[in-house]
Symmetry: C2
């Protein structure tokens, strides 16, 4: 079951410029940055009222976010991530309803999460990530 | 000053299908729908942990969201809206920092808000709305 909007991810061609925009210009708090090898991103986290803006930038200039930025010709809103308390049950339920996923099974995400992406063609053109945090799950 | 992520807006070519996806399939609560004449949208509101998903659909098939859907060839993540406690001060500050806005001055939004959009070319390709709610502002 979905229990929160975990984050909104924005793909950015220049991470420092994007951090300046959201932290200095718009006044959000920069909680930290992390290189997420599984996603091939350098990510900056900016919490705001129960959710988080994540600025995602290609790590070493490669990976799916690099491809996305190239295709689009610049930065933009990339995906939504909903937090669930039972990722496996949600995947089974959504597959039964005809949803397709980008990978067959969940993969490791940042902060010890398990994550999976619903294919945007299954979700009206929106890339939706589902994430289960270690403390939320029912193993 | 920004005090919350007010909502994430998703442009949808079929409002009822999108409501089914987010309410029935993903399990969010549908709080209501409203025709917002100023934005020329039929909008569905789905609150989730301190923010809200807004599904926006062109009212009478016209307006900026209709144009957006046509250009893109389908639905997708449309904009972020941050809630501020002093819209006028934020606009002055951001203009001083070189930000451009879609309109010269704030306009009326849903629920008695005053809103303005930062031009995506000023914000790394992301359309960002700033909204001041009647209870938050300092008139």
């Amino acid at each position: 079951m979905i229990i929160a909007l975990d984050h909104v991810a924005i793909a950015v061609p220049d991470l420092q410029e994007a951090i300046r925009r959201f932290a200095e210009d718009l006044g959000l708090e920069l909680a930290g940055t992390e290189d997420v090898e599984a996603a091939q991103t350098s990510t900056a986290f900016l919490p705001v009222t129960g959710t988080r803006i994540e600025l995602i930038h290609p790590l070493r200039g490669q990976g799916p976010v690099a491809t996305w930025l190239e295709k689009r010709g610049g930065g933009g809103l990339h995906h939504l991530c909903f937090r669930t308390d039972d990722l496996d049950a949600d995947v089974v339920r959504l597959k039964e309803r005809g949803y397709r996923f980008v990978t067959e099974a969940p993969t490791p995400g940042a902060h010890g999460t398990r994550v999976i992406f619903i294919h945007p063609k299954s979700a009206g053109g929106v890339l939706i990530e589902l994430a289960e945090h270690p403390a939320d799950g029912h193993p």
